[in-house]
């Protein structure tokens, strides 16, 4: 069978881009560890997860070449994470809506004691 031999023009990401992305990732690692040293209540999780998502985005876009890929590749790359979002989002909202997580007692929960 005939196989036509053709060269492929590919997009080669410059080394400098990789180094800049790596530096940004290390900076974010320092930020994550530093932010965890302070007690910010519920925002600890929010900050940690936000930084983690930013790191993952940088790795996916630059190291895994998604930024330089076709739109179809964007769809394929995003699909797994989109479905993960559905799983975690709907699972957690299921638990929350049934009241199965401990909710701290509010002012109305205290019984009224007679004077």
């Amino acid at each position: 069978m005939a196989q036509h031999i053709v060269s492929r023009r590919q997009h080669i990401v410059p080394v400098r881009t990789y180094l800049v992305v790596f530096a940004a990732l290390m900076v974010m690692l320092v930020l994550t560890v530093a932010a965890a040293q302070f007690d910010l209540g519920v925002f600890n999780v929010v900050i940690a997860l936000t930084i983690a998502v930013c790191k993952a985005l940088l790795i996916v876009l630059y190291f895994m070449h998604v930024r330089y890929s076709s739109r179809l590749a964007w769809v394929f790359a995003g699909a797994g994470f989109f479905w993960l979002g559905i799983m975690i989002g709907l699972t957690l909202s299921d638990y929350f809506s049934r009241g199965w997580f401990p909710i701290p007692p509010g002012p109305l929960d205290h019984p009224i004691t007679p004077p």
Binding site: M1, A2, Q3, H4, I5, V6, S7, R8, R9, Q10, H11, I12, V13, P14, V15, Y18, L19, F22, L25, M26, L29, T32, V33, A36, D39, N44, V45, A48, L49, I51, A52, K55, A56, I59, V60, Y62, F63, M64, H65, Y68, S69, S70, R71, L72, A73, F76, A77, A79, G80, F81, W83, L84, M87, I88, T91, L92, Y95, W100, F101, P102
Partner: protein, 231 residues
């Protein structure tokens, strides 16, 4: 026909146009770009299955983290956060060396490719060594909730803490298994590169192996704050 990016890549950023026999395009594809695209998309499909596979553990961990917040926070303090942070840095370095390996493969630089692949493997093994050290320290502190091990937790909720440690060992253990597989794949790439299987026209397996390695790094990027930096 899948839609492809039509932006113009500057001439100095493209590979050389010299054609060789192993740049042949399989007959079901129109051109090498389509062949590469289908490999790339296929790898993303596999990574999507992996995301959902490990995501199941993340989902159930999230549920129990919200159910027993104080117990999980207290149990998390027994982990060795600084070792975990160093491991995160090690994996980020390994992703850099892996990306540089793919870059070298695209430029047809065989020596550099093999060098960067070996560097990636060494960093992966360093990660596994630090992880093993952590596991050994946790074993010494009686925090391993497996059959045959003593689990002795001094704290208010030992049963809930035991659940946390079950999650910790399951998630990091499964991740470590992926690192071991990744080191094997990168090693295989190094052997194939040594045997001249890759060129500037054909480096797709290196790129796909790199994608697996970056995925393993991404999983750890989420594991580290969720397990080690609780509260």
């Amino acid at each position: 026909m899948p839609t492809r990016r039509r932006t113009h890549t500057p001439i100095h950023r493209r590979g050389p146009p010299v054609s060789e026999s192993h740049a042949a395009v399989a007959h079901q594809f129109d051109d090498p770009e389509q062949q590469h695209e289908s490999s790339y998309l296929g790898m993303w499909v596999f990574l999507a299955t992996e995301v959902l596979f490990l995501g199941g553990l993340f989902a159930s961990y999230s549920v129990y983290r919200f159910t027993y917040p104080e117990a999980f926070t207290a149990a998390s303090r027994h982990l060795f956060m600084w070792l975990g942070a160093v491991n995160t840095a090690v994996l980020l370095c390994s992703s850099l060396t892996m990306a540089l390996a793919v870059h070298a493969a695209q430029r047809g630089r065989r020596g550099r490719l093999i060098g960067f692949l070996i560097a990636t493997m060494l960093l992966g093994l360093m990660f596994l060594g630090i992880k093993a050290t952590e596991y050994y320290l946790e074993y010494q502190e009686h925090l391993v909730p497996l059959k045959g091990f003593i689990f002795a937790y001094e704290g208010p909720d030992p049963r809930k803490a035991e659940l946390f440690f079950n999650f910790y060992f399951a998630m990091t253990g499964l991740h470590a298994l992926h690192v071991i597989i990744g080191v094997g794949i990168v090693g295989l790439m190094a052997v194939l590169a040594w045997r001249n299987r890759f060129s500037a026209q054909y480096s797709t397996p290196v790129e796909l192996g790199g994608m697996f390695w970056h995925f393993v790094d991404i999983v750890w990027v989420f594991l580290f704050p969720l397990l080690y930096l609780v509260g």
